[in-house]
Homo-oligomer: 165 residues x 2
DNA sequence: GATGAAATTACGCCTAA
DNA sequence: TTAGGCGTAATTTCATC
């Protein structure tokens, strides 16, 4: 399940292109990597079957949906036991404001990325959905000024395994 | 640019379906919402032109790429001036370990989501790419136990605008 | 690679408000 | 008059051989 997938330079280039635009056609992939479209399809199908490609997702602009304020909530859930945290996780995931949820080490147990209509809506969310719960010991709210995605995710740079076999 | 887009119930259902699987065909969308495939194409094209749909992205499993440890880094950049933070942002975005970057309010200026091969790699990243920089005043590292995506992003529930015009 | 099947896309017409 | 929906046909993409 956590096994690494073997990838050659062509696979890496395909992954790079698809991370840049997941709708790149096999025809365009083929032109870029110098193979036939059908071969590119085979490659992508293999990457999909291997579990490396988990799926395709739509990237939306929350502001265009009327959710122009985004924030991160750092949440302590105490006591930190399964019978409390499992329902907490499911409740948070089901909130229409939630975008993403992390379970973390450190003083804060969870980090929740939320998108709301404004600061009043954020206050309501924090008070009514978090601090009002008795298992929520503390919430720290941080507004998001800006959010960037980063370059494509690729395997770590091999430092060169050396010539000996 | 930050204007909200007008959406009817059919648009919302299409957005919901596409967020569930961005590769849903127009034929399947059409069957689900009770319209013709060409009409669904028109709808999606409109959503795309409006800027609400920003793009399609590939969701990968970092562990399958050999990056089986993920962490969040809370970073203070001081002094917090454009001539220091702009290059910082670009450098962080270009790191092969970076997945996502936030500029925040609060005691920590930035939050960086990274994927590394292991804890040794994480230590190297923190020491060589962050704390070694003189503009980086502090880094706090939190391991990610688990990461969930949440339900589809939709407009806020209208509380009902009332019957009066 | 090639080929049939399927999906995508653009366009013109039609209906209803 | 205009916005939205439909159907069709040309093109492109998919999946199997």
């Amino acid at each position: 399940m956590t096994e690494s997938v073997r990838l050659d330079p062509v696979d890496l280039e395909i992954l790079r292109l698809l991370q840049n635009d997941a709708r790149t056609t096999y025809r365009d992939l083929a032109a870029a990597v110098g193979l036939a479209p059908s071969t590119c399809l085979d490659r992508v199908t293999r990457l999909r079957r291997s579990g490396l490609i988990l799926g395709h997702e739509l990237r939306l602009d929350p502001a265009k949906l009327g959710r122009s304020v985004e924030a991160l909530l750092l949440v302590q859930v105490r006591p930190h036991r399964r019978d409390l945290i499992d329902p907490f996780v499911e409740r948070v995931r089901a909130l229409p404001e939630s975008r993403s949820l992390f379970h973390l080490t450190g003083p804060d147990d969870y980090l929740v990325h939320v998108a709301v209509t404004g600061t009043a809506d954020l206050q309501r969310l924090v008070l009514d959905e978090f601090t009002s719960r008795k298992e929520v010991a503390r919430v720290e709210t941080r507004l998001i000024f800006q959010h960037w995605s980063c370059g494509p995710l690729l395997p770590p740079q091999e430092p060169g395994p050396g010539p000996a076999g």
